[in-house]
Protein backbone atom coordinates (compact mmCIF):
# COMPACT_ATOMS: atom_id res chain seq x y z
CA UNK A 1 0.00 0.00 0.00
CA UNK A 2 1.27 3.43 -0.86
CA UNK A 3 2.52 5.54 2.08
CA UNK A 4 -0.27 8.11 1.99
CA UNK A 5 -3.74 6.86 1.11
CA UNK A 6 -6.00 8.82 -1.26
CA UNK A 7 -8.87 8.76 1.20
CA UNK A 8 -8.61 8.07 4.89
CA UNK A 9 -11.63 7.74 7.15
CA UNK A 10 -10.82 7.59 10.85
CA UNK A 11 -13.01 7.28 13.92
CA UNK A 12 -16.16 8.28 12.08
CA UNK A 13 -19.44 8.44 13.99
CA UNK A 14 -22.89 9.52 12.85
CA UNK A 15 -25.98 9.50 14.97
CA UNK A 16 -29.44 10.24 13.65
CA UNK A 17 -31.23 10.98 16.92
CA UNK A 18 -30.81 7.80 18.90
CA UNK A 19 -29.80 5.68 15.91
CA UNK A 20 -26.10 5.09 15.43
CA UNK A 21 -25.85 4.94 11.64
CA UNK A 22 -22.05 4.88 11.64
CA UNK A 23 -20.12 3.69 14.65
CA UNK A 24 -16.34 4.12 14.72
CA UNK A 25 -15.70 3.54 11.03
CA UNK A 26 -12.06 3.40 9.89
CA UNK A 27 -10.78 2.61 6.42
CA UNK A 28 -8.35 3.78 3.80
CA UNK A 29 -8.24 3.56 0.06
CA UNK A 30 -5.10 3.76 -2.04
CA UNK A 31 -4.89 5.56 -5.35
CA UNK A 32 -6.08 3.41 -8.25
CA UNK A 33 -7.80 0.89 -6.05
CA UNK A 34 -11.33 -0.45 -6.56
CA UNK A 35 -12.90 -0.87 -3.16
CA UNK A 36 -16.16 -2.74 -2.77
CA UNK A 37 -18.41 -1.89 0.14
CA UNK A 38 -21.03 -4.42 1.15
CA UNK A 39 -23.41 -4.97 3.99
CA UNK A 40 -27.04 -5.76 4.68
CA UNK A 41 -29.76 -3.13 4.28
CA UNK A 42 -29.47 -0.34 6.82
CA UNK A 43 -25.86 -1.15 7.65
CA UNK A 44 -24.72 2.42 6.92
CA UNK A 45 -23.21 2.13 3.45
CA UNK A 46 -25.06 5.06 1.93
CA UNK A 47 -24.58 7.11 5.10
CA UNK A 48 -20.84 6.51 4.78
CA UNK A 49 -20.97 7.86 1.22
CA UNK A 50 -23.06 10.85 2.32
CA UNK A 51 -20.49 11.58 5.02
CA UNK A 52 -17.55 11.40 2.62
CA UNK A 53 -19.24 13.58 0.01
CA UNK A 54 -20.45 16.15 2.52
CA UNK A 55 -24.19 15.65 2.14
CA UNK A 56 -24.33 14.71 5.83
CA UNK A 57 -22.05 16.08 8.55
CA UNK A 58 -20.43 13.54 10.87
CA UNK A 59 -21.07 13.59 14.61
CA UNK A 60 -17.43 12.80 15.25
CA UNK A 61 -14.35 11.68 13.36
CA UNK A 62 -12.23 12.79 10.47
CA UNK A 63 -12.21 12.33 6.71
CA UNK A 64 -8.93 13.05 4.94
CA UNK A 65 -8.46 13.34 1.19
CA UNK A 66 -4.89 13.57 -0.12
CA UNK A 67 -3.80 14.52 3.38
CA UNK A 68 -6.36 17.34 3.59
CA UNK A 69 -9.01 17.29 6.29
CA UNK A 70 -12.33 17.63 4.46
CA UNK A 71 -14.63 16.79 7.38
CA UNK A 72 -17.79 18.86 7.29
CA UNK A 73 -17.04 20.57 3.96
CA UNK A 74 -20.05 21.36 1.78
CA UNK A 75 -20.65 18.94 -1.13
CA UNK A 76 -19.77 21.38 -3.91
CA UNK A 77 -16.29 21.99 -2.42
CA UNK A 78 -15.64 18.29 -2.06
CA UNK A 79 -16.60 17.74 -5.70
CA UNK A 80 -14.11 20.43 -6.69
CA UNK A 81 -11.32 18.40 -5.05
CA UNK A 82 -12.17 15.52 -7.38
CA UNK A 83 -14.62 13.30 -5.54
CA UNK A 84 -17.73 12.50 -7.58
CA UNK A 85 -20.60 10.23 -6.68
CA UNK A 86 -23.72 8.72 -8.14
CA UNK A 87 -26.98 8.41 -6.24
CA UNK A 88 -28.65 5.12 -5.49
CA UNK A 89 -31.97 6.74 -6.32
CA UNK A 90 -31.13 8.37 -9.63
CA UNK A 91 -31.46 12.13 -9.61
CA UNK A 92 -31.75 13.32 -13.21
CA UNK A 93 -33.33 16.58 -14.30
CA UNK A 94 -36.48 14.96 -15.61
CA UNK A 95 -37.67 17.87 -17.72
CA UNK A 96 -34.48 18.05 -19.75
CA UNK A 97 -33.23 15.85 -22.58
CA UNK A 98 -30.51 13.45 -21.46
CA UNK A 99 -27.67 15.40 -23.05
CA UNK A 100 -28.85 18.66 -21.46
CA UNK A 101 -28.57 16.88 -18.11
CA UNK A 102 -24.84 16.70 -18.75
CA UNK A 103 -24.49 20.45 -19.21
CA UNK A 104 -24.79 21.13 -15.49
CA UNK A 105 -21.76 19.07 -14.39
CA UNK A 106 -19.91 20.34 -17.46
CA UNK A 107 -20.64 23.89 -16.26
CA UNK A 108 -19.05 23.24 -12.85
CA UNK A 109 -15.97 25.19 -11.72
CA UNK A 110 -13.92 21.97 -11.57
CA UNK A 111 -14.36 21.27 -15.27
CA UNK A 112 -13.67 24.91 -16.02
CA UNK A 113 -10.39 24.73 -14.10
CA UNK A 114 -9.27 21.51 -15.78
CA UNK A 115 -10.08 22.72 -19.28
CA UNK A 116 -8.57 26.14 -18.61
CA UNK A 117 -11.86 27.96 -19.04
CA UNK A 118 -12.39 26.53 -22.51
CA UNK A 119 -15.36 24.22 -22.43
CA UNK A 120 -15.60 23.78 -26.15
CA UNK A 121 -19.09 23.06 -27.40
CA UNK A 122 -20.68 21.64 -24.26
CA UNK A 123 -23.44 19.93 -26.19
CA UNK A 124 -20.88 18.03 -28.25
CA UNK A 125 -18.87 17.06 -25.17
CA UNK A 126 -22.08 15.89 -23.50
CA UNK A 127 -23.04 13.72 -26.48
CA UNK A 128 -19.54 12.19 -26.60
CA UNK A 129 -19.62 11.34 -22.90
CA UNK A 130 -23.06 9.80 -23.21
CA UNK A 131 -21.95 7.69 -26.14
CA UNK A 132 -19.12 6.37 -23.96
CA UNK A 133 -21.56 5.08 -21.37
CA UNK A 134 -23.76 3.46 -23.98
CA UNK A 135 -26.26 6.02 -25.28
CA UNK A 136 -26.39 4.87 -28.89
CA UNK A 137 -25.82 7.95 -31.00
CA UNK A 138 -27.57 6.49 -34.03
CA UNK A 139 -30.76 5.91 -32.08
CA UNK A 140 -30.82 9.50 -30.74
CA UNK A 141 -31.38 8.24 -27.20
CA UNK A 142 -29.45 11.19 -25.82
CA UNK A 143 -32.05 13.61 -27.17
CA UNK A 144 -34.93 12.03 -25.28
CA UNK A 145 -36.22 13.64 -22.10
CA UNK A 146 -34.89 11.98 -18.96
CA UNK A 147 -38.47 11.41 -17.82
CA UNK A 148 -39.11 8.88 -20.60
CA UNK A 149 -35.82 6.97 -20.35
CA UNK A 150 -35.82 3.48 -18.81
CA UNK A 151 -33.97 2.83 -15.56
CA UNK A 152 -30.93 1.34 -17.29
CA UNK A 153 -30.27 4.56 -19.18
CA UNK A 154 -30.90 6.71 -16.11
CA UNK A 155 -28.22 4.77 -14.25
CA UNK A 156 -25.84 5.29 -17.15
CA UNK A 157 -26.73 8.96 -17.21
CA UNK A 158 -25.97 9.16 -13.50
CA UNK A 159 -22.58 7.54 -14.18
CA UNK A 160 -21.90 9.87 -17.10
CA UNK A 161 -22.69 12.91 -14.93
CA UNK A 162 -20.06 11.72 -12.44
CA UNK A 163 -17.49 11.04 -15.19
CA UNK A 164 -18.12 14.49 -16.70
CA UNK A 165 -16.59 16.04 -13.58
CA UNK A 166 -13.28 14.31 -14.38
CA UNK A 167 -12.94 13.07 -10.80
CA UNK A 168 -10.04 11.15 -9.26
CA UNK A 169 -12.28 9.27 -6.85
CA UNK A 170 -15.66 8.00 -8.03
CA UNK A 171 -18.15 6.64 -5.53
CA UNK A 172 -20.85 4.48 -7.13
CA UNK A 173 -23.81 3.95 -4.83
CA UNK A 174 -25.56 0.75 -5.96
CA UNK A 175 -25.07 1.40 -9.63
CA UNK A 176 -26.16 -2.12 -10.54
CA UNK A 177 -29.35 -2.26 -8.49
CA UNK A 178 -32.46 -2.59 -10.60
CA UNK A 179 -30.52 -3.51 -13.73
CA UNK A 180 -30.73 -6.71 -15.73
CA UNK A 181 -27.75 -9.03 -16.04
CA UNK A 182 -27.21 -7.87 -19.61
CA UNK A 183 -27.22 -4.24 -18.54
CA UNK A 184 -24.74 -4.93 -15.76
CA UNK A 185 -22.52 -6.78 -18.21
CA UNK A 186 -22.53 -3.76 -20.49
CA UNK A 187 -21.59 -1.34 -17.69
CA UNK A 188 -18.71 -3.41 -16.28
CA UNK A 189 -16.39 -2.55 -19.23
CA UNK A 190 -17.04 1.15 -18.59
CA UNK A 191 -15.86 0.75 -15.02
CA UNK A 192 -12.83 -1.22 -16.15
CA UNK A 193 -11.98 1.55 -18.57
CA UNK A 194 -12.15 4.08 -15.74
CA UNK A 195 -9.70 1.94 -13.77
CA UNK A 196 -7.29 1.88 -16.68
CA UNK A 197 -7.40 5.67 -16.63
CA UNK A 198 -6.13 5.44 -13.05
CA UNK A 199 -9.35 6.43 -11.30
CA UNK A 200 -9.97 5.27 -7.76
CA UNK A 201 -13.40 3.76 -7.31
CA UNK A 202 -15.58 2.86 -4.34
CA UNK A 203 -18.51 0.65 -5.26
CA UNK A 204 -21.41 -0.01 -2.95
CA UNK A 205 -23.20 -3.11 -4.13
CA UNK A 206 -25.69 -5.76 -3.29
CA UNK A 207 -24.82 -7.66 -6.46
CA UNK A 208 -21.90 -9.44 -4.82
CA UNK A 209 -21.04 -11.78 -7.70
CA UNK A 210 -20.51 -8.95 -10.17
CA UNK A 211 -18.71 -6.84 -7.58
CA UNK A 212 -16.25 -9.53 -6.51
CA UNK A 213 -15.19 -10.07 -10.10
CA UNK A 214 -13.82 -6.52 -10.36
CA UNK A 215 -13.03 -5.38 -6.80
CA UNK A 216 -9.47 -5.34 -5.45
CA UNK A 217 -10.60 -5.24 -1.87
CA UNK A 218 -13.91 -5.45 -0.08
CA UNK A 219 -15.06 -4.08 3.23
CA UNK A 220 -18.23 -5.22 4.93
CA UNK A 221 -20.37 -3.07 7.22
CA UNK A 222 -22.98 -4.04 9.76
CA UNK A 223 -24.74 -1.70 12.17
CA UNK A 224 -22.39 1.08 11.07
CA UNK A 225 -19.27 -0.85 11.97
CA UNK A 226 -16.65 -2.44 9.77
CA UNK A 227 -16.80 -6.19 10.31
CA UNK A 228 -14.42 -7.36 7.60
CA UNK A 229 -11.75 -5.92 5.30
CA UNK A 230 -9.70 -7.76 2.73
CA UNK A 231 -9.86 -9.91 -0.38
CA UNK A 232 -13.34 -10.78 -1.55
CA UNK A 233 -12.99 -14.48 -0.76
CA UNK A 234 -11.68 -13.82 2.75
CA UNK A 235 -14.46 -11.39 3.49
CA UNK A 236 -17.10 -13.89 2.45
CA UNK A 237 -15.48 -16.56 4.61
CA UNK A 238 -15.59 -14.34 7.68
CA UNK A 239 -18.00 -15.60 10.30
CA UNK A 240 -19.11 -12.03 11.13
CA UNK A 241 -20.18 -11.41 7.55
CA UNK A 242 -22.09 -14.67 7.41
CA UNK A 243 -23.86 -13.77 10.63
CA UNK A 244 -24.68 -10.29 9.34
CA UNK A 245 -26.27 -11.57 6.14
CA UNK A 246 -27.81 -14.80 7.37
CA UNK A 247 -28.24 -14.15 11.09
CA UNK A 248 -26.48 -16.05 13.84
CA UNK A 249 -27.85 -19.17 15.46
Amino acid sequence: MSPSPLLKVSGLYKNFGGVQAIHNLNFEIAEGELLGMIGPNGSGKTTAVNLITGFVKPTEGEIGYRGKNITGWPPYKIVRLGIARTFQMVKPFYQLPAYKNMIIPLYSPRVKKITGGKYGDRNAVALDLLEEVGFERDAFVAYKAASVLPQGYLKRLELAKAIALQPDLIILDELFSGLSLAEVASIVPIIEKLRQQGKTIIMIEHRLKELFRIADRVIALNYGQKIADGQAADVMDSQDVKNAYLGSE
Binding site: P74, K91, L96, I103
Partner: protein
Protein backbone atom coordinates in the same frame (compact mmCIF):
# COMPACT_ATOMS: atom_id res chain seq x y z
CA UNK B 1 -67.27 17.86 -45.53
CA UNK B 2 -67.57 14.10 -45.43
CA UNK B 3 -66.02 13.16 -42.12
CA UNK B 4 -65.84 9.48 -42.84
CA UNK B 5 -63.47 9.99 -45.70
CA UNK B 6 -61.23 12.57 -44.15
CA UNK B 7 -59.43 12.98 -40.88
CA UNK B 8 -57.51 15.81 -39.33
CA UNK B 9 -53.77 15.35 -39.36
CA UNK B 10 -51.49 17.29 -37.08
CA UNK B 11 -47.77 17.74 -37.61
CA UNK B 12 -45.41 19.36 -35.16
CA UNK B 13 -42.69 21.40 -36.73
CA UNK B 14 -39.20 20.56 -35.61
CA UNK B 15 -38.46 23.95 -34.10
CA UNK B 16 -34.81 23.27 -33.33
CA UNK B 17 -34.07 22.03 -36.83
CA UNK B 18 -35.61 25.05 -38.43
CA UNK B 19 -34.27 27.82 -36.27
CA UNK B 20 -30.72 27.04 -35.25
CA UNK B 21 -29.21 27.10 -38.70
CA UNK B 22 -28.46 29.50 -41.50
CA UNK B 23 -31.20 27.69 -43.42
CA UNK B 24 -33.59 30.16 -41.85
CA UNK B 25 -32.24 32.67 -44.37
CA UNK B 26 -33.36 30.59 -47.33
CA UNK B 27 -36.77 32.18 -47.68
CA UNK B 28 -38.80 35.17 -46.55
CA UNK B 29 -41.47 32.87 -45.25
CA UNK B 30 -38.99 31.10 -43.04
CA UNK B 31 -37.58 34.34 -41.71
CA UNK B 32 -41.04 35.70 -41.01
CA UNK B 33 -41.97 32.47 -39.25
CA UNK B 34 -39.05 32.91 -36.89
CA UNK B 35 -39.13 36.67 -36.42
CA UNK B 36 -42.89 37.28 -36.17
CA UNK B 37 -43.25 36.13 -32.55
CA UNK B 38 -40.30 38.33 -31.58
CA UNK B 39 -41.46 41.36 -33.55
CA UNK B 40 -44.99 41.15 -32.23
CA UNK B 41 -44.34 42.54 -28.72
CA UNK B 42 -42.00 45.24 -30.04
CA UNK B 43 -44.30 46.49 -32.80
CA UNK B 44 -47.38 45.94 -30.67
CA UNK B 45 -46.11 48.07 -27.79
CA UNK B 46 -44.94 50.84 -30.10
CA UNK B 47 -48.31 51.00 -31.87
CA UNK B 48 -50.19 50.89 -28.56
CA UNK B 49 -48.09 53.75 -27.20
CA UNK B 50 -49.19 55.95 -30.11
CA UNK B 51 -52.85 55.03 -30.59
CA UNK B 52 -53.96 54.83 -26.95
CA UNK B 53 -55.80 57.68 -25.24
CA UNK B 54 -54.17 59.48 -22.32
CA UNK B 55 -56.09 57.38 -19.82
CA UNK B 56 -55.18 54.08 -21.44
CA UNK B 57 -51.57 55.17 -21.67
CA UNK B 58 -51.61 55.37 -17.87
CA UNK B 59 -53.09 51.87 -17.82
CA UNK B 60 -50.28 50.73 -20.12
CA UNK B 61 -47.75 52.03 -17.56
CA UNK B 62 -49.40 50.01 -14.85
CA UNK B 63 -49.64 46.94 -17.11
CA UNK B 64 -45.94 47.17 -17.90
CA UNK B 65 -45.04 47.46 -14.22
CA UNK B 66 -47.06 44.36 -13.40
CA UNK B 67 -45.50 42.60 -16.41
CA UNK B 68 -42.05 43.36 -14.98
CA UNK B 69 -43.09 42.02 -11.59
CA UNK B 70 -44.48 38.89 -13.25
CA UNK B 71 -41.20 38.39 -15.13
CA UNK B 72 -39.33 38.83 -11.86
CA UNK B 73 -41.60 36.24 -10.22
CA UNK B 74 -41.11 33.83 -13.11
CA UNK B 75 -37.31 34.04 -12.90
CA UNK B 76 -37.45 33.18 -9.20
CA UNK B 77 -39.93 30.37 -9.77
CA UNK B 78 -37.74 28.86 -12.48
CA UNK B 79 -34.83 28.90 -10.04
CA UNK B 80 -36.80 26.98 -7.44
CA UNK B 81 -37.92 29.89 -5.29
CA UNK B 82 -41.68 30.44 -5.16
CA UNK B 83 -42.12 33.98 -3.93
CA UNK B 84 -45.29 35.41 -2.43
CA UNK B 85 -43.69 38.79 -1.90
CA UNK B 86 -42.94 40.71 -5.07
CA UNK B 87 -44.23 43.69 -3.03
CA UNK B 88 -41.00 43.50 -1.05
CA UNK B 89 -38.95 44.22 -4.18
CA UNK B 90 -41.41 46.80 -5.47
CA UNK B 91 -41.71 48.60 -2.14
CA UNK B 92 -37.99 48.60 -1.39
CA UNK B 93 -37.21 50.12 -4.78
CA UNK B 94 -39.99 52.65 -4.33
CA UNK B 95 -38.77 53.78 -0.90
CA UNK B 96 -35.14 53.92 -2.06
CA UNK B 97 -36.07 56.24 -4.94
CA UNK B 98 -38.47 58.29 -2.82
CA UNK B 99 -35.99 58.90 -0.03
CA UNK B 100 -33.10 59.75 -2.33
CA UNK B 101 -35.33 62.23 -4.13
CA UNK B 102 -36.95 63.73 -1.02
CA UNK B 103 -34.00 63.95 1.39
CA UNK B 104 -31.05 64.25 -0.99
CA UNK B 105 -32.80 66.02 -3.84
CA UNK B 106 -31.42 63.72 -6.50
CA UNK B 107 -33.28 63.69 -9.85
CA UNK B 108 -35.09 60.59 -11.19
CA UNK B 109 -32.30 59.94 -13.68
CA UNK B 110 -30.08 59.18 -10.68
CA UNK B 111 -32.54 57.74 -8.18
CA UNK B 112 -34.10 55.14 -10.51
CA UNK B 113 -30.82 53.40 -11.48
CA UNK B 114 -29.49 53.61 -7.91
CA UNK B 115 -32.75 52.33 -6.43
CA UNK B 116 -32.67 49.44 -8.91
CA UNK B 117 -29.20 48.36 -7.81
CA UNK B 118 -29.38 49.07 -4.08
CA UNK B 119 -33.00 47.95 -3.80
CA UNK B 120 -31.96 44.70 -5.47
CA UNK B 121 -29.01 44.32 -3.12
CA UNK B 122 -31.04 45.06 0.00
CA UNK B 123 -33.80 42.58 -0.91
CA UNK B 124 -31.17 39.95 -1.68
CA UNK B 125 -29.62 40.64 1.71
CA UNK B 126 -33.04 40.24 3.37
CA UNK B 127 -33.60 36.85 1.77
CA UNK B 128 -30.10 35.34 1.77
CA UNK B 129 -30.53 33.93 5.31
CA UNK B 130 -33.58 31.92 4.17
CA UNK B 131 -32.14 30.65 0.87
CA UNK B 132 -31.75 27.21 2.41
CA UNK B 133 -35.50 27.00 2.87
CA UNK B 134 -37.41 25.31 0.11
CA UNK B 135 -40.98 25.39 -1.17
CA UNK B 136 -43.65 26.78 1.10
CA UNK B 137 -41.17 27.74 3.85
CA UNK B 138 -39.36 30.15 1.56
CA UNK B 139 -42.70 31.49 0.30
CA UNK B 140 -43.90 32.22 3.82
CA UNK B 141 -40.88 34.35 4.60
CA UNK B 142 -41.30 36.35 1.40
CA UNK B 143 -44.97 36.91 2.26
CA UNK B 144 -44.21 38.14 5.77
CA UNK B 145 -41.28 40.46 5.04
CA UNK B 146 -43.20 43.26 3.21
CA UNK B 147 -45.91 43.17 5.90
CA UNK B 148 -43.22 43.60 8.55
CA UNK B 149 -41.62 46.52 6.73
CA UNK B 150 -44.98 48.33 6.53
CA UNK B 151 -45.45 47.99 10.28
CA UNK B 152 -41.92 49.21 10.94
CA UNK B 153 -42.56 52.31 8.85
CA UNK B 154 -45.91 52.85 10.56
CA UNK B 155 -44.57 52.40 14.08
CA UNK B 156 -41.32 54.32 13.83
CA UNK B 157 -42.69 57.03 11.52
CA UNK B 158 -39.54 56.92 9.42
CA UNK B 159 -39.64 57.88 5.72
CA UNK B 160 -42.77 59.93 6.18
CA UNK B 161 -44.55 57.32 8.27
CA UNK B 162 -48.22 56.77 7.45
CA UNK B 163 -48.36 59.98 5.39
CA UNK B 164 -45.63 58.88 3.01
CA UNK B 165 -43.48 61.24 1.00
CA UNK B 166 -45.30 63.38 -1.55
CA UNK B 167 -44.30 66.08 -4.02
CA UNK B 168 -41.47 64.01 -5.47
CA UNK B 169 -39.92 64.96 -8.81
CA UNK B 170 -41.88 63.66 -11.80
CA UNK B 171 -40.31 62.29 -14.95
CA UNK B 172 -39.94 64.95 -17.69
CA UNK B 173 -43.18 64.12 -19.55
CA UNK B 174 -45.57 61.26 -20.25
CA UNK B 175 -43.70 60.16 -23.37
CA UNK B 176 -40.50 59.66 -21.41
CA UNK B 177 -42.48 57.65 -18.85
CA UNK B 178 -44.07 55.53 -21.54
CA UNK B 179 -41.02 54.77 -23.64
CA UNK B 180 -38.76 54.23 -20.64
CA UNK B 181 -40.98 51.50 -19.23
CA UNK B 182 -41.55 49.96 -22.68
CA UNK B 183 -37.80 49.87 -23.36
CA UNK B 184 -37.03 48.30 -19.99
CA UNK B 185 -39.86 45.78 -20.34
CA UNK B 186 -38.68 44.64 -23.77
CA UNK B 187 -35.04 44.52 -22.66
CA UNK B 188 -36.00 42.46 -19.62
CA UNK B 189 -38.16 40.12 -21.69
CA UNK B 190 -35.61 39.36 -24.39
CA UNK B 191 -32.50 39.64 -22.21
CA UNK B 192 -33.68 37.34 -19.46
CA UNK B 193 -35.29 34.90 -21.88
CA UNK B 194 -31.89 34.57 -23.50
CA UNK B 195 -30.24 34.22 -20.09
CA UNK B 196 -32.63 31.49 -18.95
CA UNK B 197 -32.04 29.57 -22.18
CA UNK B 198 -28.26 29.70 -21.79
CA UNK B 199 -26.23 27.12 -19.87
CA UNK B 200 -26.31 29.50 -16.91
CA UNK B 201 -30.11 29.41 -16.97
CA UNK B 202 -29.95 25.64 -17.25
CA UNK B 203 -28.13 25.51 -13.91
CA UNK B 204 -30.85 27.68 -12.35
CA UNK B 205 -33.56 25.43 -13.76
CA UNK B 206 -31.59 22.42 -12.53
CA UNK B 207 -31.76 23.81 -9.00
CA UNK B 208 -35.54 23.95 -9.31
CA UNK B 209 -35.66 20.41 -10.66
CA UNK B 210 -33.21 18.73 -8.31
CA UNK B 211 -30.97 20.83 -6.10
CA UNK B 212 -28.96 17.94 -4.64
CA UNK B 213 -27.98 16.83 -8.09
CA UNK B 214 -26.72 20.32 -8.94
CA UNK B 215 -24.78 20.42 -5.67
CA UNK B 216 -23.32 17.07 -6.64
CA UNK B 217 -21.99 18.65 -9.83
CA UNK B 218 -19.68 20.85 -7.79
CA UNK B 219 -21.87 23.92 -8.10
CA UNK B 220 -22.59 26.14 -5.13
CA UNK B 221 -26.37 26.37 -5.48
CA UNK B 222 -26.69 29.09 -2.84
CA UNK B 223 -24.46 31.40 -4.85
CA UNK B 224 -26.51 30.78 -7.98
CA UNK B 225 -29.76 31.28 -6.07
CA UNK B 226 -28.38 34.55 -4.68
CA UNK B 227 -27.66 35.75 -8.21
CA UNK B 228 -31.16 34.83 -9.40
CA UNK B 229 -32.56 36.58 -6.35
CA UNK B 230 -30.62 39.73 -7.15
CA UNK B 231 -31.80 39.74 -10.77
CA UNK B 232 -35.43 39.30 -9.71
CA UNK B 233 -35.30 41.86 -6.92
CA UNK B 234 -33.55 44.43 -9.12
CA UNK B 235 -36.35 44.10 -11.70
CA UNK B 236 -38.96 44.59 -8.98
CA UNK B 237 -37.04 47.48 -7.44
CA UNK B 238 -36.87 49.21 -10.81
CA UNK B 239 -40.63 48.89 -11.17
CA UNK B 240 -41.10 50.41 -7.71
CA UNK B 241 -38.68 53.28 -8.28
CA UNK B 242 -40.31 54.04 -11.62
CA UNK B 243 -43.83 54.15 -10.19
CA UNK B 244 -42.66 56.39 -7.33
CA UNK B 245 -41.69 59.07 -9.82
CA UNK B 246 -44.80 58.52 -11.95
CA UNK B 247 -47.10 58.99 -8.93
CA UNK B 248 -44.71 61.57 -7.40
CA UNK B 249 -45.49 59.84 -4.12
CA UNK B 250 -44.23 56.95 -2.05
CA UNK B 251 -46.05 55.54 0.95
CA UNK B 252 -47.15 52.36 2.66
CA UNK B 253 -49.38 51.15 -0.21
CA UNK B 254 -46.23 50.17 -2.16
CA UNK B 255 -46.00 47.11 0.09
CA UNK B 256 -49.62 46.17 -0.67
CA UNK B 257 -50.54 42.57 -1.35
CA UNK B 258 -51.62 43.47 -4.93
CA UNK B 259 -48.02 43.70 -5.98
CA UNK B 260 -47.39 40.18 -4.69
CA UNK B 261 -50.52 38.39 -5.86
CA UNK B 262 -51.25 39.92 -9.26
CA UNK B 263 -47.86 38.95 -10.75
CA UNK B 264 -48.47 35.35 -9.72
CA UNK B 265 -51.95 35.39 -11.28
CA UNK B 266 -50.41 36.88 -14.43
CA UNK B 267 -47.78 34.15 -14.59
CA UNK B 268 -50.38 31.43 -14.11
CA UNK B 269 -52.80 32.83 -16.70
CA UNK B 270 -50.06 33.60 -19.20
CA UNK B 271 -48.03 30.45 -18.69
CA UNK B 272 -45.10 29.93 -16.37
CA UNK B 273 -41.52 29.26 -17.30
CA UNK B 274 -41.24 31.40 -20.42
CA UNK B 275 -41.22 35.00 -19.10
CA UNK B 276 -43.20 35.90 -22.25
CA UNK B 277 -46.21 34.12 -20.79
CA UNK B 278 -45.99 36.04 -17.55
CA UNK B 279 -45.83 39.30 -19.47
CA UNK B 280 -48.79 38.27 -21.62
CA UNK B 281 -50.73 37.43 -18.48
CA UNK B 282 -50.23 40.95 -17.14
CA UNK B 283 -51.41 42.34 -20.47
CA UNK B 284 -54.65 40.35 -20.11
CA UNK B 285 -55.38 40.76 -16.41
CA UNK B 286 -54.66 44.43 -15.73
CA UNK B 287 -56.72 45.84 -18.66
CA UNK B 288 -59.49 43.36 -17.77
CA UNK B 289 -59.60 44.78 -14.29
CA UNK B 290 -59.87 48.27 -15.82
CA UNK B 291 -62.69 47.26 -18.17
CA UNK B 292 -64.63 45.75 -15.28
CA UNK B 293 -64.29 48.96 -13.26
CA UNK B 294 -67.85 50.23 -14.08
CA UNK B 295 -69.24 47.15 -12.31
CA UNK B 296 -68.13 48.63 -9.01
CA UNK B 297 -68.02 46.14 -6.15
CA UNK B 298 -69.01 43.24 -8.37
CA UNK B 299 -65.76 43.73 -10.29
CA UNK B 300 -63.82 41.37 -8.04
CA UNK B 301 -66.47 38.68 -8.44
CA UNK B 302 -66.24 38.71 -12.23
CA UNK B 303 -62.49 39.00 -12.05
CA UNK B 304 -62.28 35.97 -9.77
CA UNK B 305 -64.71 34.07 -11.95
CA UNK B 306 -62.58 34.78 -15.00
CA UNK B 307 -59.48 33.49 -13.21
CA UNK B 308 -61.21 30.26 -12.19
CA UNK B 309 -62.68 29.60 -15.64
CA UNK B 310 -59.35 30.36 -17.21
CA UNK B 311 -57.18 28.14 -15.05
CA UNK B 312 -59.61 25.27 -15.63
CA UNK B 313 -59.95 25.80 -19.40
CA UNK B 314 -56.33 26.59 -20.30
CA UNK B 315 -54.28 25.24 -17.39
CA UNK B 316 -51.03 25.40 -19.35
CA UNK B 317 -51.43 29.18 -19.81
CA UNK B 318 -52.18 31.31 -22.86
CA UNK B 319 -48.61 31.54 -24.05
CA UNK B 320 -47.93 27.80 -24.03
CA UNK B 321 -51.18 27.23 -25.90
CA UNK B 322 -50.38 29.79 -28.59
CA UNK B 323 -46.81 28.56 -28.87
CA UNK B 324 -47.94 24.98 -29.38
CA UNK B 325 -50.48 25.95 -32.03
CA UNK B 326 -47.97 28.16 -33.80
CA UNK B 327 -45.59 25.27 -34.30
CA UNK B 328 -48.24 22.86 -35.52
CA UNK B 329 -49.69 22.27 -38.96
CA UNK B 330 -53.19 20.96 -39.12
CA UNK B 331 -54.75 19.74 -42.31
CA UNK B 332 -57.48 17.43 -43.55
CA UNK B 333 -56.23 14.31 -45.24
CA UNK B 334 -58.03 11.61 -47.18
CA UNK B 335 -58.55 8.34 -45.40
CA UNK B 336 -57.79 5.43 -47.69
Amino acid sequence: MDNEKKRKERIDRGIKVRSSDVFALTSWREMLYLSAPRLLPVVGLLILSIVLSHYWQRVLLSVSVFALLAISWDILAQSGMVSLGQALFFGTGAYFAGNMNHYLGWPPSVTIPLATIFGGLLCTLFLVPVLRLRGIYFSMVTLVLPLMLVRIIEATRIFGGTEGLSGLSPLPNRWVELYLIIAVLLAALFGFRRLMNSDYGLVLKGINDNDRSVMNAGINIYWFKTQALFIASAIGAFAGAFMTHVYMFVGMPVFALDYSILPIAAAVVGGMGTLAGSMLGAFVLVPLSEILRPLGGLRIVFYGLFLVVFTVAVPEGIFHYIQRKYHQFERWVEVE
